[in-house]
Amino acid sequence: MKTFLRIAILTVLAAVYTSTHAQTVKASYKTDLHIVSTNDMHAAFEKLPQMAAIVDSLRCLDKDLLVLCAGDSRTGHPINDLYPNTSYPMISLMNLIGFDCTTFGNHEFDSHQDGLARNINESNFPYICANISADAELGIQTTPYKFFDVKGVRVCVLGVVQIGSHGRPDTHPKNVVGFTFAPVEETIQKYLYLRDECDVFILLSHIGFEDDVKVAEKFPQFDLIVGGHSHTQLEGGEIHNGVLITQNVNKLKRLTYTTLTVENGKVTNKQAKNIEIENYPKKNVAAQSLVNFFSDNPELGKVLAQAVTPFSSYEELGCLMCDAIRDISGSDISFCNAGGVRYEEHPAGDFTVSDVLRLDPFGNNAVVMNITGKELKDMLIACFNADENRFPYTSGVTCHVTYTDSKRSAIKSLKVLGPDGKEINPKKTYKVVGNSYATTVSNSPRKDQGEDTNIATSDMLMSYLKKVQKIDYQGKTCLKEIF
């Protein structure tokens, strides 16, 4: 009996000691988790040496720094986007910096399926996105979430990408064939169980600030939302329903540096601040060497087509641009504002990538709309009025414009003639494509405002030149001006 009592007392004491000791250990456990995050870098690869230097410095303070990207690393600079292995400059620099993960932005899909598969394989960091799945034949493995063990803290990062009203991220529909996308909130609901499996729950989001706020209001389970897509400049971060949301504008103007204090497996304090990149005085030397290497891109000198005869007017080059976007978009008619054609002479011979980028440097996308002949006529007049009284160039139709005077002060009358030489039917609906600037400034009433194709007009011109191989526009006209 005495022995039994002794064992019982010892067991109880041991249990009490263990319990007390464990509580002491847990109570004393407090650590700061540091995160650097970017979003919407849009191929601003020339700023990555400065970011690399900042990350180097922060890693001296905390070697366990997490580096996160909230999507849209590409699309915005021809050196990166037109690299033979598209977007490789950004990826190699992100590898050098040591990003821990990214989510997909809508523009990651601009690499097309094969390019995206290559991008993912070349990246030393995972692409985390829960509301996407890819058909097996694409060879694209998507990861909905990832755990990181940082200084004894279990961090879970869940990723989501923006879905537009058309049911896909904002990219050309062809780029997402083979992918399936699920609604963001429904997806988050499905993965909420992860909250119980981690100390810190982070949403890496490319859905835009306004939707991040909605998510925070509905899902206070997140400690932090690292956001992107809407190019919103927050002062560090902003807390909604207890959830810290961070985001910076685009093109690496700033980084966000977030500190989460974790005690007893819970986040007890959250702080975020911006770090300026543009004026940061130091650059990582290795990163700068990579930038220098990639900047010398032979792709820009690549010959796309041969000009059989020289171009000697804005109109000839405007006709080429309009033919290109009409053909590549499969439209009946196209138009470009005259101010969008940036040079007027081009010799016979090579027409290169660089020539295209000089001719059409604004990054305009092609916008397609279904409008009547009457609406088209009104659009062309509105474009003239908004573009310093210069009539737009067209393809698929020829325009006979009569002005009130020799200074083109106003249009007296306009005839829009189809390929048969007759005026187009004012009631018939045509598929019309224009560059995004011309479409915007043509402020005339119409039912269909159009849809962005998410393809740059310069990309369409390159595709067209590759397709036709030879061009001859000497004396070509799409416009007859009568004074």
């Binding site: 849009h42 306004e210 809407s230 190019h231 400049q233 995004s436 915007t440 402020n443």
Partner: protein, 66 residues
């Protein structure tokens, strides 16, 4: 899509950015067209956004000349 710029509804193509909506607003109101670099653009929360910020249907923005 329809977005609101400085309290005025603007119809514009799907996929338009903040600078497109503002340009349309300026033309509609016969204002002098300013370069987007000279504007401060804000979302409905009052946060600054970039001219290239993508807009969605129903979104509200405001802008001021610097």
């Amino acid at each position: 899509m329809t977005v609101t710029v400085n309290n005025q509804e603007i119809r514009i193509f799907n996929g338009a950015t903040a600078k497109h909506a503002i340009l349309r607003y300026m033309l509609k109101n016969k204002l002098e067209v300013k370069k987007v670099d000279n504007l401060v653009i804000k979302d409905k929360y009052g946060h600054q956004i970039d001219g290239d910020a993508p807009l969605s249907d129903g979104q509200t923005i405001t802008f001021k000349t610097v």
